[in-house]
Point group: C2
Chain length 446, copies 2
């Protein structure tokens, strides 16, 4: 049996490796258009923060290990151009433009996501860089290693943009950030977003909301990012305006698409064609809170879905429950996390949301070194169900968010969650965990 | 209506305060035998660690606040000696030995726990101290502030004993610990307990397992703790051999007792007498994993149960689900946590336990500063249910344990838990959270 995988990052290589282990006789071919496979894209900002670390440290497993140890036919520099579902073939071209056509019994589309690039004049100037692939990271590090970069403008204010901001500030570089929308961190309740906003300004970051980039100009001194009513000088401009599912191949093959034009899959990661799977940032998923399709590109889901595809290809039927939209990032002295839905997202999904917002200490009464923790918890008035949690704090946020994430998977009511026997010791929190304080407050309103 | 509370710490004062808020006309009387109410007993080791901090910093709310602001008739120095359930009275004596008898409509027994004290010769020598009440903490601090204490022997190796060990080592004091049983930290899987054992010895602590204290002797140089085959010199001896429920009053009143002779209560915290409640460390609880009665004295449960009693006394019927036995402590560079059952406990409870033990990194691949995390996860072969988790690690353990705790409340199967959408970012863990790695391993065996 021939298993062909398009895309050699998290989902694709997880699927290829696991399928090889499960069925040693399987012919496994992976087509990867770049030269890099299996690397930790999420680690790029942290690697870029440190001039002494090699970007290739982020490679989790080298291509030759897949080729030699696992006997996977891994073809880097190979771009898939056309899928023919009737003939069950993939056609494309290799590193020197040479065409190829491969037959498959089962195909996995794991093409990931493509960065949103601003199509404004000057977007292709030297010094205007994106951050998606390892090659992008390599270019950024090379640029930073060159003639002194003192000022960077980041277009975008999402997780990656904020992590890059911290990385650059840590290298002593002045950072301005611009985004067209007026609201900072819309994925968080506004009061919590304000806490993050204040942390950035306290760290000397210029935050320019409601500014649309109109063009980027080259000057004798460097670059100028021209927005509505604002000109920002820069030695480098970083584009981190989010990503979209890379689903053109799937769309052109006639496969069904879901939210954000991600490739539509069922719980078994099957597309609308019985022989084609999709997994990773290019595919959609069921949201465990809404029960509806959603598109949330996250590394864990990509790995998990890759494994599940391997199981299904190899005859072990494995269905995934879905995602809760759990995410966390660090920015300067803050941990920022969320799971499930915000109030706005809950309303859009048809719930009648009620929320409680609390602020408490990260350690017990009288325990030294405590910081602040803010929690927003959202419940559904009609059913009493927990719908989501957002948290910000100086410590104790990143792993705490996993408890409500599990509760969301269990469709737990706020009243049940409030009864949870959570851990307590003075260095780690107050007797009533911040999540329980929030749940108790929310219960009063439900 | 008259609501009388015996015991003025977590459960008792939580109940009194909340009952007062819920029913302003209620007559609320609290009998507390010591002079201290509402303090953070769990904070004592950390307070003792710092010579410059006052032990009274641990008081959460002062007695006069309860008396004046909340108009609670709080009687410190008042010991309850007899409960007469037929007459609905409590009799006892006040600070000068004066007798009193109080009538009640509803009574709460919140007498807490009593420390296990070794009844060996010399246990009452000066310099042999317990650690349960705030007065004990005061005595220890006074003793440490006196003539140089260079060597301490701690009897016991439980959570509190280990926290005290760290506090004393932090003050430059040599510490030896003894316990009669041969097994270190039986509440943890043995490999994980070994990690903690090694951390203690690496910090210069003498661990003497399988040593029964036979007597404590006074010498011109200080004290000697004499065990079977071992003599340990000390300037101070600390007894931290665990606690037992303080249930004598309840027993003598004819109330039913549960495990460990804790006062037996139902979900509404009602004892076998319809007018008497019990809450806190003196009372038992349902274990959410076994569905059976258990006795696990923990601060959060005490507070929660106190609130529930207030609700029930005031006519808002509130039942508690039970406890998962979630606990965490810090010792030197390690966080140690557990929830649910160990393999041994699972077997005792009638399950057919299977366990997986993994070791992984606390941060992502290639992220600097990562430490180690060990996880043991236990599932039931027959039902596939998650039964418990134990974790040890240099970081990221304390709050991570809350996710499986919530899963235990939801009676979740390991297969469902393994699908949880847990948070990932490079500073906080690998893409596959250590809990998911453990769950995936466990699934292979289930």
């Amino acid at each position: 049996m021939k298993f062909v995988v398009i895309g050699g990052d998290a989902a694709g290589m997880s699927a290829a490796s696991r399928a090889r282990r499960l069925l040693p006789d399987l012919e496994v071919t992976v087509l990867e258009m770049t030269e890099d496979v299996s690397y930790s894209a999420c680690g790029m900002p942290y690697n870029i923060a440190d001039p002494d670390r090699d970007i290739d440290d982020l490679v989790v497993r080298r291509a030759d290990v897949f080729r030699q140890k696992q006997q996977i036919d891994l073809r880097t520099g190979h771009r898939a151009d056309v899928i023919d579902p009737r003939k069950r073939t993939v056609s494309g071209h290799g590193p020197h433009g040479e065409p190829f056509t491969l037959a498959y019994d089962k195909l996995l589309i794991a093409t990931g996501a493509v960065p949103v690039m601003p199509q404004v004049p000057g977007h292709d100037l030297p010094g205007v860089l994106g951050l998606k692939s390892l090659a992008d990271g390599r270019r950024i590090k090379q640029f930073l290693a060159g003639p002194a970069v003192k000022r960077v403008v980041i277009m975008g204010m999402g997780y990656i943009a904020l992590e890059m901001c911290e990385a650059l500030r840590g290298r002593g570089i002045a950072v301005d950030m611009v985004k067209p929308r007026a609201r900072f961190l819309p994925a968080m309740a506004s009061d919590l977003a304000q806490v993050v906003h204040d942390e950035l300004t306290a760290n000397g970051v210029g935050l320019h909301l409601g500014r649309t980039v109109e063009r980027i100009e080259e000057t004798p001194d460097g670059l100028v990012v021209v927005c509505n009513g604002l000109r920002l000088e820069a030695d480098m401009v970083l584009s981190a305006m989010g990503v979209l599912p890379s689903s053109t191949l799937a769309k052109e093959a006639g496969l069904d698409l879901g939210p954000a034009d991600a490739v539509a899959v069922d719980g078994y990661l099957r597309t609308s064609d019985a022989h084609i799977y999709a997994a990773g940032d290019c595919a959609d998923a069921i949201h465990v809170v809404t029960g509806q399709k959603t598109w949330i590109p996250l590394a864990l889901r990509a790995n998990r879905a890759g494994w599940a595809v391997a199981d299904n290809v190899c005859g072990n039927a494995v269905a995934l429950d879905g995602v809760a939209g759990t995410g966390v990032f660090k920015v300067f002295g803050l941990e920022v996390a969320r799971t499930g839905l915000t109030v706005d997202e809950s309303r859009s999904a048809g719930f009648d949301p009620v929320s409680a917002r609390i602020q408490t200490r990260s350690r017990a009464h009288a325990h030294p070194g405590a910081g602040k923790i803010w929690v927003e918890m959202v419940g559904d008035r009609a059913s009493g169900r927990l719908l989501g949690v957002q948290m910000v704090g100086t410590e104790g946020v990143a792993h705490r968010v996993n408890a409500p994430a599990v509760a969301l998977h269990g469709q737990m009511a706020v009243a049940r969650f409030a009864q949870s026997d959570l851990a307590y010791a003075p260095p780690f929190g107050p007797t009533w965990d911040p999540l329980l304080v929030a749940a108790n407050q929310l219960l009063k309103q439900l």
